[in-house]
Symmetry: C2
Subunit: 253 residues, 2 copies
Amino acid sequence: MVAALKPTRSNARIRRKLLRIPGMIARDLGVQIVSGRFKPGEILHGEIETSGRLQVSRAAYREAVRILAAKGLVKAFPKVGTRVTPQAQWHLLDPDVLGWIFEFDPDETLLANLFELRRMVEPEAAALAAARRTPEDLAAMAAALKGMSRYTLNSKAGREADQEFHAALLRSTGNAFVESLTAGVGAAITWTTIYKGMHSPRLRDSVPDHQKVYEAVAAQDQAAAREAMGNLVELALRDTTDARRMSKRGQSK
Amino acid sequence: MVAALKPTRSNARIRRKLLRIPGMIARDLGVQIVSGRFKPGEILHGEIETSGRLQVSRAAYREAVRILAAKGLVKAFPKVGTRVTPQAQWHLLDPDVLGWIFEFDPDETLLANLFELRRMVEPEAAALAAARRTPEDLAAMAAALKGMSRYTLNSKAGREADQEFHAALLRSTGNAFVESLTAGVGAAITWTTIYKGMHSPRLRDSVPDHQKVYEAVAAQDQAAAREAMGNLVELALRDTTDARRMSKRGQSK
DNA sequence: TCCGTCTATTTGTCAGACAAGATAGCGCCG
DNA sequence: CGGCGCTATCTTGTCTGACAAATAGACGGA
């Protein structure tokens, strides 16, 4: 629930600076939908009722619903209401939707699916990057690599460097569609780190794996880049599932 | 330009039944943005001005802008206006954005990029499908295949069967993220067909290629499925670029 | 020269009203 | 009695006009 949405002054700082009211509501509803609180086929409560309950204008609430509709999560019809669409129609690779899905403990299957996609795309992306990377791309990857080893994944800066490494690699494919998968890769990486940090105290150092990818890309060796990145994703997946399994067992849930 | 947007009655039927006013405006602006008519960094005209010019209420226009913002095409700030975001932030795999990009003669590079993505994903998807397909999946693919050979790509039904074949295959991976790439694959297929139909009178029959994929999936032979689908995409790409080159040369442009 | 303030402009939000579309139930007619 | 069409009604769709909030840029003071 949104609770006290009207930010007279108190939560004005808490709310992300750039999230206006419709954005907040959309995020809120979006999370409830992707987390199963609202199931496909269900119909959201009426606009007047909901906007009244949230103490926002109907226009603001409508803009929120429009955002969700733009991401394929809902569809609105007169008289029938705003219905949650089946998952097959959701724009799962939309950065916001991804964020909502993985905001809280995400569905195990979906995380596995996301890794499957990484496994398909990233090795080939590395091969493309090896063929097309510019000196600037290389510099960005080198800088990210340096950041990873300097700060480690235990610090925010280190984790951001990890993300940036993969982002730079996808960017250097020169393929706009591949680049648009950055958010998806980032989400998978985030949860790998979270699970590893949560329960396996001694996390395997992933810098050497990244280093190998970097070297292959730098040497413009497509086959080696593909191979190294394949390894990296494979290991990341294993680490994630292992850590997750331990974590689940630990909390006996 | 939207021209006469106010549908007193005349164009009420012409406008796609399910496209409300904000949807129409969003599509219109979206096409102008992805086609380069509005360039990244540029600022859209003010809300009052634009909504006035289009003869719609400001609320309706705002909902349209919200849709575009949800797809990453624009960002709005008070005082500064609504700015077109750099292409790297666009949600290129959003079905609507894809549709807008490929609505008219699309950028050659982008089409090539889309094929690159297909080349990465679809063979592995075929392998996954071979491992996981249910009898129902298989039936759907068989039906689509039958439709392709019965109606050929010269008819609408045949083209839809082609799309459905690939959609069914992606669906049978059991991977929601892979499935969400259906729109992207579909867009690529559409333009392959268009280019082939446009200038190469004798288009290579692609049914045997699809048949091979189907048989491998039916036999649960992952390697064969991967191989067959790799071939199919490769040939489709070659057909597309060939046909396009001929077409361009033909119209001496 | 630099920094804080002030203003103007743009988007953000609100409020209430009416229009349009779709469902369901009612009633007419066969 | 059963099928068909009309109407009542409910929900989203759209319009209008107003005020609030945020910020870029100008202005003025230290």
